[in-house]
């Protein structure tokens, strides 16, 4: 279901405890702290493993997230803007991560640039509510998606390196 390296990455992302979404006004603050702690640890892990590949931040309420992710292909770094909302049904349903600038450039996206996840993602997420958070969605969702899609989009010439412009 999940390959060994992903499993290893996942196991180093701290699990969350609080089952609360943005409508649970009392507990959401606690959940949000857990999200940030988990994400900070994940990014630090990535940096230590020389595999730093994204940054994220949120609005004050923690309901809108935005940031950047990078993908290195043939020694060139490609950067993309990330954005997603926390749905009111979170954490029962995972956030739908979007790369708006790639909208319309690949069939493996839903409208608005939301990435198309594998058949395994949703069952795995559902089995791990409320322990999985945004970091897990990045590791299980966006990470593998970039690894499959970006090289192909570069080969096709749909995605071009920005440094020369």
């Amino acid at each position: 279901m999940v390959d060994e390296s992903t499993r290893k990455t996942l196991s180093s992302i701290p699990l969350l405890k609080t089952k609360a979404g943005p409508r649970d006004s009392n507990l959401w603050g606690q959940r949000l702290k857990e999200e940030y702690l988990s994400l900070i640890k994940y990014v630090e892990n990535n940096k230590n493993a020389d595999n730093d590949w994204f940054r994220l931040q949120s609005n004050e309420q923690g309901t809108k997230w935005f940031g950047k992710c990078w993908y290195v292909h043939n020694l060139l770094k490609y950067e993309f803007e990330i954005e997603f909302d926390i749905p009111i049904t979170y954490p029962t349903t995972a956030p739908e991560i979007a790369l708006p600038e790639l909208d319309g450039k690949t069939a493996k996206m839903y409208r608005g640039g939301k990435i198309c996840l594998t058949d395994h993602f949703k069952p795995l997420w559902a089995r791990n509510v409320p322990k999985f958070g945004i970091g897990h969605a990045m590791a299980l969702g966006l990470g593998p998606w970039l690894a499959v899609e970006i090289p192909e989009l570069i080969e096709k010439g749909v995605v071009k390196h920005k440094s020369n412009t």
Binding site: P87, T92, K122
Partner: protein
């Protein structure tokens, strides 16, 4: 100079007139008929309701005109929702409340209802214009937003609660959305509001679909069990997913919309039996049905509340009218009987709920699935959220 200006003014005026003319055409107000106060059963070419009122004459429906007092919310105005809205409009529903945040695209043209000239318009607005033209008696409200977002969910709930013709709660919610998140959001709202609703869906491979009637507390809610899938009897290994997210067919969507509205009408106008779950497998033309009880341990607290309310409520005994069980033949000298020879097919990996219907995945019995030990546990006591946010920004 002033001559130039005058010419320009005239040109502007001409263009404004042209624009007004086009707008008028778009609204269809020029060609549309006047509103009709009461549905007439008179059979004449000019009566749009004669064939519907015939249902009453034939004894299928007791009082068809009740439909004009009824309000239905349609969430998602895509391949299924737009056809659903059109069917209800043609049936003379009192009011429709449409929700969708999407725009019409050329990629939608393999489905019914929308037309190429509407590309770029919001789906709710484009739909409202067409529907008002088809039947000006129907009142139509439109809401162009994503119901799962924090900014809009409260408005969505409030709209469901106050948008009926007389300012009360709508009579029925029809879910015609295409994703799990939106279905869960509708489920959350309907459990809180104690609102009956129908869920509908077409699989991503376009060859199966389903409708489900959800009565909070009485039937399983959408969060009670993992999503159900109608077996398409396709080997997963031969199903190619390369390069695409979803396929769609106007046929499957039209069929599902038909089932959905048929059961909505049966519920609203009280005729026939409303099917609690109806699946459609297009590959074999197989239509499984079943009933699902709510899960006492459902994650949704309002579902559990509605369940306890339902248990406490005295049950209405349904009287079966004059359906006496009589043997087809008085005597059966040779003891002949019919034997069901259909072999139930087995689906090994997924938990089967009823023949031909299984859960999309199984949930763990205990809450341990991804066992990674206590070291990764989180301690949030030390830092404030602000500190954490700025730490994240500065890494």
């Amino acid at each position: 100079m002033s001559e130039n200006m005058e010419e320009l003014f005239e040109r502007i005026k001409a263009l404004e007139n042209e624009l007004a003319e086009e707008k008028r055409k778009n609204e269809g107000s020029a060609q549309t008929r006047a509103k009709i106060k009461h549905m007439s059963s008179e059979v004449v070419d000019t009566n749009p309701y004669s064939r519907l009122l015939a249902l009453q004459r034939m004894g299928i429906v007791q009082n068809y005109e009740r439909i004009r007092k009824m309000t239905v919310a349609v969430v998602g105005v895509g391949g299924v929702g737009s056809v659903t809205a059109e069917m209800l409009t043609r049936c003379g529903i009192g009011k429709l409340v449409l929700f969708d945040y999407d725009k019409v695209e050329l990629a939608n043209m393999n489905r019914l209802f929308f037309q190429p000239h509407q590309v770029g318009q919001t789906k709710v607005e484009a739909a409202a214009i067409t529907l008002r033209f088809i039947n000006p008696d129907v009142e139509i409200d439109t809401h162009n937003y994503n119901i799962t977002s924090v900014d809009h969910f409260d408005h969505f709930m409030n709209t469901i609660n106050t948008s009926s013709i007389n300012g009360g709660r709508v009579d029925l919610v029809l879910s015609c959305v295409d994703n799990f998140e939106a279905r869960m959001a509708i489920n959350t709202a309907c459990n809180e509001l104690n609102q009956k609703w129908f869920e509908s869906g077409v699989s991503e491979n376009a060859v199966s679909g389903h409708i489900q009637f959800l009565v909070p507390g009485e039937t399983a809610c959408f969060a009670c069990v993992p999503p159900l899938v109608v077996a398409a009897n396709i080997d997963e290994k031969t199903l190619k997913r390369d390069g695409v997210c979803a396929a769609s067919l106007p046929t499957t969507m039209g069929i599902v919309a038909g089932f959905l509205v048929q059961n909505a009408l049966k519920y609203l106008l009280e005729f026939g039996t409303v099917t609690p779950y109806l699946g459609y497998n297009a590959m074999q033309d197989f239509f499984p049905t079943m009933r699902l009880k709510p899960n006492v341990n459902c994650d949704d607290k309002f579902c559990r509340l509605r369940q306890s309310e339902y248990v406490a409520k005295p049950k209405i005994e349904k009287c079966e009218e004059c359906v006496e069980e009589k043997p087809l033949h008085e005597d059966n000298e040779w003891g002949i009987c019919l034997v069901d020879e259909t072999v139930p097919e087995e689906y090994e990996t997924k938990k089967s709920v009823a023949p031909g219907i299984s859960q999309a995945y199984e949930l763990p019995d205990q809450d341990i699935d991804f066992d990674i030990g206590a070291e990764a546990d989180i301690d949030t006591n030390e830092q404030s959220l602000e500190e954490l946010m700025s730490k994240m920004k500065s890494i």
